[in-house]
């Protein structure tokens, strides 16, 4: 019992904190001048005894700002016998016409209401009311009765994707024990979530919840299934639509959700919809659809009603004291788009990074390795104002560019000798590398991969279907890499949080089920071809599926020889909503360490872009320039946004997603190993590969067995998920830098950089300067130099002292991080 008490105290404290923060809704300042008030919906039809309507009152102010007045405006009915209002919800009383009067301050508005069908019963719909009520209360969530084996002997289909099963379970299973239509309130289905009967899931419903009434009435009506001709919902609409900007302190917004039915009718489903916020730090949304802003930023409030999902984007802004826009340099459209967002949210971009920071940053991003001493010196000495742009262009033509970017795509395409054989992996790698070297347009690259046939030796792109081993693997790989959608869930059931349905999954599969894989007489070779028959059956409905693509739907007359051609052609259309966006976002995330959509391969309603305008413009540029990957990368690198300092200012410290300043990140495993070799000038040898091969040029991780790379997050390439490459730090990493064999051996090497310098007769200052330039592309500061020289002076053994200094430099964040 003491525990209970502690818990409630915590809850109180949390509630108290929330109230005192950004969320406490207040009206705009008293001097804000109200222009007019608007009520949604402006006209209302309530055609049935069960109908109701959430009203939303919006105040429009003279200065253009708006705020939600739903909870403060006065609504009265002029015809209480026809329609009544309770808590901003209108309820029908009798057939007829009525008027609702809305008042706030000196402004008024009216809503005309037409009430019909009050004399006839309106049965609860099993499919569209009861199942929605169960979803609303999370009964059928994945962690509860929606799990594959159910909970406590009671199993529902996940988010009601299988109404037939639910019908059986709710009404008939175990002799119909869950529902009691002679005494509905005594149904186990209600007693359990009320906790009147012990329920493992605890209390989930209240008697005054709208969902309770729905389930109860459905039981009382005899647990009826819907009539065959009942109107079905075809879409939902959320009000307000995306784009509303709310300014502190008026940060509350009530939502309303209207379902459109197949017979053209509209119904308010606000009480049965489920709400979630894409960023709970920015805004919270409660079960009634009331959004409360918590801090400045943007959220997508995702609204789900049965399988329908819509979002409303809301931006929360606030005045920041002393904020003055700093007229940061604008290099191209990227900066315009970024600044637009920063200005709105009142973040100030950081200053430009130094030349030393820039050269290190851009080398690591474009070619994966650090610049040589000569390159650093030459860049510092160069007085050309366009030198940053020029070095970007130069780097993109370096051979290391194609090798380094082939490493990134190698992750996505799962290049491993384990999956495509030792011989195959080199060919596949060279194919990817050549695509980057020749700057093959991205649409051609994708088409070549997706439609590949033939020998994996003579056409290495065909390895795509070697790593994607079967139909399911194809659907999941292709959707994640090219559509940015994780479709695995939809294999067994409709995606619980997204639009993707099980039908979609098998519709996509119908493009790829005919791909055949045959071993040939040549060892390690595989032959990929397409058979001329074979259909996909949806396992739940047993329907034969037509090839299907998002947006367009079923492909009625697919190519009779190879359906993949239809898919590739749809994918690479200039107006494809996924293709270009996903690739530019991926490129962006490679150089910023964070996508505009993050994670970069996880595009969904619940994960909106942090700057939609920016993403749209990048994608448009990419398409208009013929899917030129080098060009779009150059444009990004030449933007001021890319070149801002990692050091925040007072007005952007807490920004992590709008690109007001550069976010430092740990070098990737391969970059780090190459960088250590670069500073010590001791190359790493990879057995079986030519001497001098860099870690960033390895075709596949399983060609070598390098402990250091594994510890620092080199992926095994078992999945197509970008998340497989982790840069989270761990203890093993620290141990490697503390006393790991790799660094120890390089520091002890007789031919390493500082020993060679000693041999060449360099003095300590020269050697220390060299090490700093190799590691962090700059000269040591006076303090650093003095400390280093003092350390050498204090030691008997000069070379051991230099080992210490080099080791210390390798352990600085400035070396370990890209910044």
């Amino acid at each position: 019992m003491q525990l209970c008490k502690l818990r409630t105290t915590c809850v109180l404290m949390i509630t108290g904190m929330l109230l005192s923060g950004f969320s406490g809704n207040k009206l705009l300042a008293a001097d804000a001048q109200l222009d007019r008030i608007e009520v949604y919906p402006a006209e209302l039809q309530l055609a049935g005894v069960r109908e109701q309507a959430q009203l939303i009152v919006t105040g429009h102010y003279v200065d253009g700002s708006i705020q939600d007045l739903t909870r403060v405006a006065t609504i009265t009915t002029a015809n209480a016998e026809i329609v009544t209002v309770q808590g901003m919800v209108a309820y029908p009383q009798a057939d007829g016409q009525g008027t609702l009067n809305v008042e706030f301050e000196d402004k008024t508005a009216t809503v005309k209401v037409v009430v019909t069908n009050q004399q006839q019963p309106q049965p609860v719909s099993f499919l569209y009311d009861t199942l929605a009520a169960l979803s609303k209360n999370s009964c059928n969530a994945g962690a509860c009765h929606g799990s594959p084996s159910g909970k406590g002997g009671f199993r529902l289909s996940l988010r009601a994707f299988d109404p037939k099963l639910d019908e059986l379970t709710l009404i008939r299973e175990d002799f119909g024990r869950r529902t009691n239509s002679l005494d509905p309130d005594n149904s186990l289905l209600l007693l359990k979530p009320l906790m009147k009967v012990a329920h493992g899931g605890g209390r989930q419903i209240r008697v005054d919840d709208p969902a309770y009434a729905v389930i109860r009435d459905w039981i009382e009506e005899g647990c009826k299934m819907d009539a065959a001709d009942v109107a079905r919902p075809v879409k939902i609409e959320v009000y307000p639509k995306s784009g509303r900007v709310l300014k502190k302190p008026a940060v509350q917004q009530q939502l309303s959700v209207w379902a459109h039915y197949s017979d053209g009718s509209l119904r308010d489903v606000t009480p049965l919809a489920v709400y979630s916020s894409s960023d709970v730090e920015v805004a919270d949304v409660d079960r009634n659809g009331l959004v409360k802003g918590l801090k400045r930023g943007e959220v997508a409030v995702v609204v789900r009603y049965l399988e329908f999902i819509e979002s409303s984007f809301i931006t929360f802004i606030e005045d920041v004291e002393n904020f003055v826009w700093n007229d940061a340099k604008v290099n191209n459209y990227i900066d315009v788009a970024v600044d637009g967002k920063l200005k709105q949210l009142k973040y100030l971009p950081s200053a430009l990074c130094t030349d030393e920071e820039f050269i290190r940053r851009v080398y690591l991003d474009v070619i994966g390795i650090l610049p040589s001493l000569e390159e650093v010196t030459a860049f510092a000495a160069n007085q050309d104002p366009a030198k940053r742009d020029k070095i970007v262009d130069t780097l993109l033509e370096r051979p290391e560019y194609s090798k380094f970017w082939a490493l990134k795509w190698g992750d996505l395409l799962r290049l491993t000798s384990g999956q495509v054989t030792n011989e195959g992996v080199y060919k596949y790698y060279r194919w990817v590398e050549r695509s980057f070297r020749d700057n093959q347009p991205y649409d051609e690259f994708a088409t070549e991969l997706l439609t590949a046939t033939g020998s994996t030796f003579s056409n290495p792109a065909a390895n795509f279907y070697r790593t994607s081993k079967d139909m399911n693997d194809c659907v999941e790989t292709i959707s994640q890499v090219f559509l940015g959608a994780r479709l695995q869930c939809a294999k067994c059931h409709n995606h619980p949080f997204e639009r993707w349905t099980q039908d979609n999954y098998y519709g996509m599969a119908a493009f790829f089920n005919r791909v055949q894989r045959a071993n040939t007489k040549r060892t390690n070779e595989m032959f990929i071809y397409v058979s001329q028959s074979g259909e996909v059956t949806q396992p739940r409905t047993q329907q034969q599926m037509k090839p299907w693509v998002p947006g367009q739907g079923d492909i009625e007359n697919p190519n009779e020889f190879d359906r993949r051609l239809d898919f590739a052609s749809w994918l690479t259309q200039p107006d494809n909503p996924f293709f270009a966006k996903i690739e530019v976002n991926r490129i962006w995330s490679q150089v910023f360490g964070r996508g505009i959509v993050e994670p970069a391969d996880d595009f969904r309603d619940t994960n909106p872009p942090s700057n939609a305008v920016l993403l749209d413009q990048l994608a448009k540029d990419f398409v208009e320039n013929g899917y030129d990957r080098k060009k779009i990368l150059a444009t990004i690198l030449k933007s001021r946004t890319y070149q801002t300092s990692y050091q925040p200012n007072n007005f952007n410290e807490d920004d992590t997603k709008y690109f007001s300043h550069y976010q430092p990140r740990l070098l990737s495993a391969e970059q780090l190993l190459d960088a250590i070799c670069h500073v010590t000038q001791v190359a790493e040898t990879f057995s079986g590969l030519p001497a001098g091969t860099k870690a960033t040029h390895l075709p596949a991780p399983d060609l070598v067995n390098n402990e250091f790379l594994k510890i620092f997050g080199q992926p095994e390439r078992q999945t197509v998920c970008a998340c497989e490459r982790t840069n989270e730090s761990n203890l093993s990493m620290a141990i490697q830098f503390f006393n790991g064999p790799l660094i120890y051996n390089k520091l002890k090497s007789e031919t390493n950089s500082f020993r060679k310098s000693i041999t060449d007769g360099k003095d300590n200052t020269q050697i220390i300067t060299l090490l700093y330039n190799l590691a962090v592309c700059r000269n040591p500061s006076e303090t650093e130099l003095k400390a280093s020289l003092d350390h050498i002076a204090s030691k008997e053994n000069r070379v051991e002292a230099l080992e210490d200094i080099c080791w210390a430099i390798l352990n600085t964040n400035e070396f370990l991080f890209q910044h």
Binding site: M1, C4, L12, F175, R178, L182, A198
Partner: protein, 443 residues
């Protein structure tokens, strides 16, 4: 509609008006309060705050707070009472629920003042098993709609067919389906109906899902309640007399079998071995062994004398819903979710054969040498218990058949369906002789 019905507990509470000096009974007054208000959170499934009230002993034992839950004679040092009476809604029990009524609180307070005495036998017994049998609400005069027929049987002379209703058992004329009698004071649903060997008693086993299980013994002649056995916290699904009729076994959703001497009603043995509901039980021909069918996907065989588990049969790989002994006493029939009847050797649990059914089998009954099964394909099947031959099947129901019965002397077979319909057939020629909806007031 709901106003007509009250759960047994509410009725019980209203009945007990208490003055401070009245002696308060734990089993009659306190236990029902705990069951209805506290047990959901402080029970075996969810012991919030480390505190449970599912037995008298646990009710007295302190929770995580380490404060005395109940101090006999001193209600000021009884943490449980303090939490019930607290003015602070974040502290008051039940949390987030309706506070107890002043009357209920006074009962608990007086019981503590009077020494917090226990007036049942076993302080470790589940509360549900010690509360006095409730008086059930009356059934509706006429039903708004039918209820699934989960139990059906014939009267000993075959002239009446008996069905389970809603809070009642109804007797119908086998010849014309006319309603003869309604026996009241029955649990919400009935899953098994059995007449005693002498025909004097009728057992109705059932309860309220998730709340109560019991077997009620009625006088067959008057319909008066004689006794209540096997009270548990979830429905009883089967009750069976041994061949000589001097013992009654009761089993259900609490996964245990309870064996009573009959009609004395004293508990002889409790057998707990299954991990899920027991759907059906069967005695062997000598009254020495009991077989059980369970939702845990096994059928089991026990020694009645010792309670020892003799054999586990796992051949169905699905919930097992019916069980019966072969006339040779060496084989056992079982049936269930795999749409099959299996028979297996009672000595070693080895499968001896199977017979396909048209759908999931909900019940399997054996009367004399005849087995009847009722299943999801809307069909009753009559099987020769000695030869496993299907003698005849009885189709015609419009919904799942959930229950069946056979009357040897009159050669009648009855089948009850999910939609509330009961059909009676002539077992000699398979002809349907009667169909009616076994719900008073529903045609």
């Amino acid at each position: 509609m709901s106003r007509i019905f009250h759960t047994f507990c509410v009725a019980l509470l209203l009945a007990s008006t208490v003055k401070a000096q009245d002696a308060v009974s734990f089993r009659a007054d306190i236990a029902p309060i705990l069951i209805n208000n506290c047990l959901a959170c402080h029970g075996p499934k969810k012991a919030e705050g480390g505190y449970r009230v599912d037995t008298f002993e646990r009710f007295l034992r302190e929770g995580d707070s380490e404060l005395a839950a109940i101090t006999a004679g001193n209600h000021d040092e009884s943490e449980s009472l303090r939490r019930i009476k607290s003015e602070d809604e974040f502290e008051r029990m039940p949390l987030e629920g309706q506070p107890l009524s002043a009357q209920e609180t006074a009962l608990i307070e007086n019981w503590i003042t009077q020494g917090a005495k226990y007036d049942a036998e076993d302080p470790q017994a589940a509360l549900a098993t010690i509360v006095p049998a409730p008086t059930h609400p009356a059934p509706p005069e006429t039903y708004p709609r039918s209820v699934p027929i989960t139990a059906v049987t014939f009267s000993p002379d075959g002239s009446q067919v008996v069905t389970g209703g809603y809070h009642e058992v109804v007797l119908w004329n086998t010849a014309d389906g006319a309603m003869i009698k309604r026996i009241q004071n029955v649990g919400q649903r009935t899953f098994a109906l059995r007449f005693s060997n002498d025909g004097q008693h009728l057992v109705a086993a059932g309860g309220a899902p998730g709340r109560l299980g019991e077997a009620r013994i009625f006088s067959a002649a008057t319909g008066d309640l004689v006794s209540v056995l096997g009270t548990t916290s979830d429905v009883v699904l089967d009750a069976q007399f041994n061949l000589t009729g001097d013992h009654l076994a009761v089993a259900g959703a609490d996964s245990s079998i309870r064996i009573y001497e009959f009609p004395a009603g004293n508990l002889v043995r409790t057998i707990s071995s299954h991990s899920d509901w027991i759907m059906a039980i069967a005695w062997d021909n000598e009254g020495k062994r009991l077989a059980s069918a369970s939702r845990d996907k096994t059928a089991k065989l026990f020694d009645v004398e010792t309670g020892e588990l003799l054999v586990t049969y796992s051949g169905h790989n699905n919930p097992v819903k019916g069980v019966a002994f072969h006339p040779d006493n060496n084989h056992i029939y079982s049936a269930g979710g795999d749409n099959k009847v299996h028979w297996w050797n009672s000595a070693d649990g080895k499968k001896a054969g199977e017979l396909a059914q048209g759908g999931e089998v909900y019940k399997l009954e054996k009367i004399g040498g005849v087995i009847t099964t009722s299943s999801a394909d809307k069909t009753i099947r009559q099987i020769d218990a000695a030869t496993q031959k299907e003698i005849r099947n009885y189709a015609g129901h419009a919904d799942w058949t959930l229950s069946s019965a056979f009357h040897e002397a009159t050669k009648r077979i009855a089948g009850g369906a999910f939609d509330g319909a009961v059909k009676i057939w002539n077992a000699e020629d398979g002809a349907e002789v009667l169909t009616f909806v076994a719900a008073p007031g529903v045609k």
